[in-house]
Structure formats: structure tokens, C-alpha cells
């Protein structure tokens, strides 16, 4: 089962700059060879269900190892059985639709 997720992990009680923790998660996701895209309020990841969810789990485990006592993640999970779709497709379809309308 292919999945596209939007992953946003929030460490509590570690100051207001979350950069080192988000960076660590980027490396974990990249090391697993998963296609991903950082945006201003999370990271989109695509792949098979197991490795994508394994990446999320490794991020929680690693940040706890780094000393974060409490984590709250917001995860959107999209699956479809009607057709394959990539992260790139999703945004492109919307932009192409808008471009066509404004001609």
C-alpha cells in the first residue's frame, strides 16, 4: 500500500527553536531513501506504508534519545486504491487547473 503523508513532529520543553530536531528527522528520512519534501509546517513523505511509518517511529525514538521528554506528532496519511499518485502530481494538478482557467 503506497502512502503520502504530511509529518510534523513537535518536541515539548526543548526551547522554541526546533531546528536541530527537525533537521535530525530530515536525515533519518533521507537515510531511508524515502522521497520527501520539507515545507514550512511539516514534511511530505511518499513510499510504501511500512518504511514511511518506520521513519516516523525512528524520529520519535531518536528525539527521545536526544533528550526530548515529550513529543506530539501531527500526521496526515493519504492512500488510494483507484490509481497511483505522487506528491509532485498533487500540487501540479492544482497549478495546471488554475493556469488553464486563467487563460
Amino acid at each position: 500500500m503506497k502512502v503520502i503523508v504530511d509529518f510534523c513532529i513537535t518536541p515539548l520543553n526543548m526551547g522554541t527553536s526546533l531546528t536541530p530536531y527537525i533537521a535530525e528527522c530530515q536525515l533519518i528520512i533521507a537515510d531511508m531513501g524515502l522521497s520527501h519534501q520539507l515545507h514550512a509546517y511539516g514534511t511530505n513523505i511518499e513510499g510504501e506504508w511500512e518504511p514511511v511509518m518506520e521513519a516516523v517511529k525512528r524520529c520519535h525514538a531518536r528525539l527521545h534519545e536526544m533528550g526530548v521528554p515529550r513529543l506530539s506528532t501531527q500526521l496526515k496519511i493519504g492512500t488510494r486504491s483507484d490509481k497511483e499518485q505522487t506528491m509532485a502530481d498533487k500540487a501540479e494538478h492544482v497549478q495546471a487547473f488554475i493556469a488553464k482557467q486563467s487563460q
Copy 2:
């Protein structure tokens, strides 16, 4: 790693009543013996990371089998390394705090 999640699965293109799909997910979660609590906008589940995430996966797989072409899940995932906490604790602490203040 213990986890408390808030799980809300949305089937697309299956009408506006999602009751049969939500009910099916309740049965999947209950069959796995996971502690859970349905509320008006999702279901809280607590347990070890693997079975809880396995429940979410089974819900996606089962709803696709039932003919749902596209699913979008919203999942909040809470973990902590400082202490154990149950779903019941979380709401009770808030209610006890309010009760104490209003004395």
C-alpha cells in the same frame, strides 16, 4: 515505546454518512484488544507503537477492500520518555486542576 493517538479516518467519495466505515474501524481496533475511546471527531487509542500503528494500517486496508477509493487520515501521535501516562490520566488531570481552582 508507548503511544497515545487520536485517529480520524475520512473516506472520500462514499457519501456523507461515514458511520459504516467508522464502525468497521472500531471493530478492528477492539479485535486487536487495544484500549480505545470514540469521540465526536476521532478515536483515541493507547498501546505499544507497533499494534497501534498496525490498527491504523488495517483500517486503511479494510476500507479500501470495502470499496473506498481514497482515504485521508488525521493522526495525532503522543509519546513520552519521562513517565507513563494513560488516556484517562490526561483528561482527569485537567478536570482535577479545574475543580481545585474553582474551590
Copy 3:
């Protein structure tokens, strides 16, 4: 426009116990006379769009006043134009469906 939301506010850098902040938000929501229900990973609120969103805004403003430097909220917002539905309806429909099936 009627709305049912699931509201979960996360204060950053304020320790791991969020109870005083969640309690403060409960009081703000109650003071506005909004129907609401605390659960283990958020609070469901129902009402007209404006007061419900005003409650969310007041919670952010108040927690910043209490000294919280950074807040991240997760909000699910449900609206429908086909029929009116209450928070109680939503969970009851699912439980009635399960009860009927297991007869």
C-alpha cells in the same frame, strides 16, 4: 455556518505538563457558553463558526499572556450543508450501528 471542531493546543518550552494551559482553555471555552467535550487528545467544540474560532483565538492570546512563547494548534473543522449534526449524534450513530450489527 455551524461547525464541529477538534481543538488541540500545544505550548512549547513550558515543561511537559500542559495541564494548567489546557485547563485555562477549558475555562475560556466554557465562559463563551460553547458546547464542548474534553477528551484525551483535544477538545471537541460545536457552535457557529465565529464564536468557535474566536474561542481558539482567545486561547492562543491568553496562553501567550501567561508567558508561553510558542504555540502549535491542531484543529479539525467539520461543516456540512446537507443536514444539522451535533457532536453527540456523531459518536451515537457509530455506536448504534455497531450495536445493531452485533445483534
Copy 4:
């Protein structure tokens, strides 16, 4: 109060292609002059609290006008009182941190 949100609106019972609805929301947000960025699983928007939340409301109202009977939105809302931060800052900080570490 400045806010950065991640907005993802899901129309129910309108087929599996949500492109026309997402495109309509992009136009509403752009017409309001709000800084925004579409990604594969939502749209980040930044601005003052009121116009950003007004944009979300207009999207719900407009999609119901277009015939969508039921909508479920996932909204992340970030505010901070310690400093100003833009959407661009957030992703850039993470990328700069990773670049520095890998030198």
C-alpha cells in the same frame, strides 16, 4: 497576532479528484493577498490571524456553494510571541542547519 497555518480541506462525496476545489481555495487565498505556498498535502498561509481565518471560512462557504455537502479541514496553527518568523524562515533554518552539519 501573526500566524502561520497549514490548511488542508477535504470535500466528501465529490469524487476522488479534489483538484477543482483545491484550486478554488487557492484563488480565494490569493485574492485576499495572503502569502501562501501550496504543497503536496495542504497549503501554508501566513498573515494576521483574522484574514487567515477569514480565508479558511470563505473556502468552506464557497465549496458548500459549489455543492459540496460535507467538508473536513485539517488546520495547523502556529503563533509565537518571542519573535517574528516567516514561512520561508522555517524551512531555511532547517536546511541551513543540515548544510552546516554536513560540512
